[in-house]
Amino acid sequence: MSHPTLLAMPLAVLLGAVGIWSVNASSVPAPAPAPALGAHEQIASPLPAAEIANASHAIDQLVKADLDRHNLKAAPLAGDEIFLRRVYLDIMGRIPTYAEISAYSADHSSRKRQELVRTLLASEGHVSRQFDWFADLLRAQTRLSDRYAGQAYLDWLKQAIREDKPYDKMVSEMLRAEGPALEPGNGATGYYLRDAGMPLDNMANTVRVFLGTQLTCAQCHNHPNDKWTRQDFFAMAAFTNGTSVQAKLNIGKGNMQELRKLEKDGSADLKNVVRQLGQTLGLKVQNNDQTSIKLPADYQYPDAKPGAPLRPHVMFGAALPVPAKGDPRDVYAAWMTAPENPRFTLVIANRMWKEAMGIGLIEPVDHLMDDSVASNPELMDYLTRLMIGVKFDLRKFQEILYSTETYQRAATKEEPAAGEPWRYQAAVLHRMTAEQTWDSLLTLVVPDLDQQKGADAQAMIAFYQDNKDKGPDDLVAMVKDIAGFRGKGKELQQEFQELRAQLDKARADKAAPDVMKQLQEKMRALGEQRKGMEMEADPYKKFIKSIPKKKAAEGKGVGPLLRASELPSPAPGNHLLRTFGQSDREMIDNSTDSPAVTQALGLLNGFVDSDVLGKGSLLAEAMAKAPGAEEKARVLFLTILTRQPSAHELAVTSTEIGASKDGWANIAWCLLNSHEFLFVQ
């Protein structure tokens, strides 16, 4: 049986395949025909090399046509050293290690670049890199809405990337998420937990992230410079109006009243326990199948009255029949993620292109209007169809992009002029992201970096599973138990403080040493008792305490030596990651590469000296092993800058290295503080 490959299929054929959009497929602008691609049976997984090559070539041709049109010449391909560093940073999110560089140098295959791209995309390092990208886009945090544990959501995102879940499916799972947040595999509920209590904002975010469209203005008034009306906004919000976040412990009113009474009588901390258990055992996204929303009380346009009920209605495309019963999000998610949704596919294709090439074909990527034009419309159309052709398999899509010659070009010496469309004649010099900077420094410190894992939600999920079926009486007993233990813990704490006061006094009075020793002994015993009690008996504390299960290596004053993706999201405010502009994950795509003086201070006087050059780091070990000053210099250039030193550099640096014990550290420090380290060519 022979039929054309999906990549070569006319869009109309693809469109016909899906019900929702086939109603009015003619409203979708038909893109220009793409260059013909070779016929293959089907898209296999992984994509056959020839298919990748064809698609990459087609992209290169479209770029070239555009360059010809503008009388521009493409830069030559970057050399292996530059390419290797760039592709590791882009796909793995870190620089390559000495061993990885050696392996690549030893490979003499003519297809070694393409093979490397494929290998890297399937690696655990890529999960970290792509997670950072999604976390910035989705504002995914370790604590969602400042109160709910978000780890299950973060785990879900990582797993989706790891198993290469198609993007449309990923989005659909988030938009349709419901049920207990800690049910295994149900981490997509985090999408709604992130904006708990703010369903309107959640809709504005959804439209911006997945449709690249700004609807926020229309939340309060008709959009001043786009076509959206306030009614459009509320008609969209109607789809998720029945969706809410619950975090209640299901113990019944009577029990609750009894607990409140107890709380008032005694000093037991029942309320907090109820809240904490509610936020774990009771945490869920609930949908009540509501299919309408009320216009706000300050609705100000003549087409409807304030407070009038409004049925869900999609903001563009043919009207969707929304069933009177059932979860309206089903049709909404199907509409959103349908390949023919002209904005959904285009936006992710453009975002992926931007991630690889540095500049989107349409900029900004999330401010689409009807008259938005790509800098290279044919290429944009092709990429959109390619995204459909690979069925939203981002890894395949990325493999095609990273295999293009366009991606592999040498960097331009000139800075692209602000506001001018970029034609992709060369790569664009750019500063590493915060995550790339931190993760790259760690490759010089920690072995087997990509496999080092931080906290996950396993313990919390186990706690949920152990207790989720408890009835109200058991739950009440559990609340009392935990509160009781905490009360006891407080008493012990008080006792402990009294002992300390006694000890202080004994010290001041210059009491006999054995008196002090006795007091210290008592304090130690109390401390042990309290710790043991919490671990043994407070099931809530027990699961909190057991995260992370395995303790990661700690740096000197910087916390765990783990990749950005394995640290809390976002990292603490004074972390090197934040200094270098990691997003606070409060706003969509909020990371920054702006310079700040604290960045220089951080590299000059901080982590580089304390940990990268410190005893026990991978780099220090490599230096101890490398024989002679010249070899040390070579290893330093390769591990830090991914290239061999020039003859002149070799002469200068090996002299410095040979001159003193600190010589190699001076050179390493200097390379790590150089522009060449921080900027990706």
Binding site: W133, L137, D146, R194, D195, M198, D201, A204, Q214, T216, P224, E263, K354, E355, G358, I359, E363, P364, V365, H367, M369, K413, E415, P416, A418, G419, E420, W422, L429, H430, R431, T433, P570, P572, G573, N574, G581, M587, T592, D593, S594, P595, A596, Q599, A600, L601, G602, L604, N605, G606, D609, D662, N666, W669, C670, N673, H675, E676, L678, F679
Partner: protein, 439 residues
């Protein structure tokens, strides 16, 4: 997401897209979100047309010390005592050195300095939970999932720029990571966060074991090594990093850095401010404004007194009383109080009703804040609450009004419309009206 050179393109194209529509819609000129903000663009030889009336008025304060009482400070037990009322609990009121102003007995030192204070008793907020309350107090806007608004320190940097070219102009001490920071403004306006006052400026001293000679030797190597790269890529972003390293080295060697070092204060001074984190924070704030750091926020937590309210408020108030009273005296003695606006803010007050745990619960309907120095007339009270402190009786002050007053003192253009990067128009204190009668 990727932030490359492209993001600058991104910002620009975004702005251009918005420009025409925004002009037509708002009838205002756009402020440059690129480059140096308003301050930067005025400093450059590139005059920009500003809408008439948008030019900043003459400020009454150059700098601002903003003390934030996190958790919701009980107004009844501090600045708005109600002696004799059922709701007063055991707290009595004491007279102050300003006619007609009584404070809680927990604030004996401040009572002796009330001549500096404008007590704003008619505060009222719309947010009764900590995070949104704190956000509203810092930004004048309700917290939203789609945008982050700038806090006052960022606005000051954006409109007015820094005075000391070496030190950061906006600093928070112990503020935590939830601080709204620069909001949608460029990240360079974000405050530099210090974990606590004693730790000083992170990484501003050479690493242990690296002496000046070795440091200089290393820097020399870096400079010569960078030379080739700078020639190959003669780009603004590369030059920015070259400048940055220059600035960092200057800062490391600067005597201004001593501003961060509390060790240079006599012990007696530390004792006067209080040998605790808040006291240290107030002392550091004074050192910083003395060195032309323009906005310093110091945080004192622990005001969320749902149980055991009176003991706990008394403990907190003692820290506040000592720190703030000393700060006012110290600033005044140094001639700095006239040009330094001191603000005391909190997210909400506490309920007049005393709950079953002898505590007070969240109460946004009526509470108190303070202003002092920086052109504010001392020894006055603005607004009153009723007999139990439950309702604002006169001169209600919404949070945007309070923030507009701070902006007014600092000479910031309250009416100037600024377009956020996604094209939404804002003013710095929403629609707040400054309390000009306080000046």
């Amino acid at each position: 997401m990727l932030n490359r050179t492209a993001n600058r393109l991104d910002e620009l194209s975004r702005r251009e897209i918005l420009l025409s529509g925004a002009r037509a819609f708002l009838g205002v000129s756009l402020l440059p979100l690129l480059g140096g903000g308003l301050a930067g663009s005025l400093a450059a030889d590139e005059p920009r047309a500003l809408a008439a009336g948008a030019l900043p008025r003459r400020p009454t304060a150059r700098n601002c010390i903003y003390l934030y009482m996190a958790g919701g400070m009980s107004h009844l037990d501090t600045f708005d005592p109600k002696p004799g009322a059922d709701t007063a609990g055991p707290v009595t009121a004491i007279s102050s050195n300003a006619t007609g102003i009584q404070l809680s007995e927990y604030l004996p030192r401040l009572a002796k300095n009330a001549n500096h204070l404008a007590v704003v008793r008619g505060m009222s907020s719309t947010q009764g939970a900590h995070e949104p309350g704190e956000y509203l107090m810092h930004t004048s806007f309700a917290q939203r999932g789609t945008i982050r608004h700038p806090a006052m320190g960022a606005w000051l940097g954006y409109f007015s720029g820094r005075t000391n070219p070496t030190l950061p102009m906006n600093i928070t001490i112990g503020a935590g990571s939830r601080h709204p920071g620069a909001g949608y403004l460029e990240s360079k306006f974000a405050p530099l966060p210090l974990g606590n006052a004693q730790s000083g400026l992170q990484h501003s001293a050479r690493s242990p074991g690296v002496d000046q000679a070795q440091f200089d030797r290393r820097m020399g190597l870096v400079d010569s090594f960078n030379h080739g790269f700078e020639e190959r890529y003669d780009q603004k972003q590369v030059r920015a990093y070259k400048d940055l390293y220059g600035e960092a080295v200057t800062l490391m060697g600067s005597k201004d850095l001593a501003a961060f070092d509390l060790g240079q204060e006599p012990e007696a001074m530390k004792t006067a401010y209080g040998d605790n984190e808040f006291g240290h924070g107030c002392l550091l704030a004074r050192r910083l404004v003395e060195n032309d750091v323009r906005f310093v926020e110091v945080r004192l937590g622990g005001w969320d007194t749902h149980d055991d309210n009176f003991d706990r408020v008394q403990t907190r108030a003692a820290l506040l009383d000592q720190g703030l009273a000393t700060l006012l005296q110290d600033l005044s003695a140094r001639g700095l109080l006239e040009e330094t606006l001191v603000v005391l803010a909190t997210e909400f007050g506490r309920s007049p009703k005393i709950n079953g745990n002898n505590g007070r619960d969240h109460y946004p309907k009526a509470f108190s804040c303070l202003l002092a120095g920086g052109g504010i007339k001392g020894g006055q009270v603005h607004g009153t609450t009723d007999a139990t402190g439950a309702n604002v009786a006169e001169q209600k002050v919404e949070i945007p009004d309070f923030n507009a007053t701070i902006g007014y003192a600092l000479g910031l253009p309250l009416d100037q419309v600024v377009i956020s990067p996604v094209g939404r128009p804002f003013t710095l204190a929403d629609k707040g009206k400054p309390l000009t009668n306080l000046f």
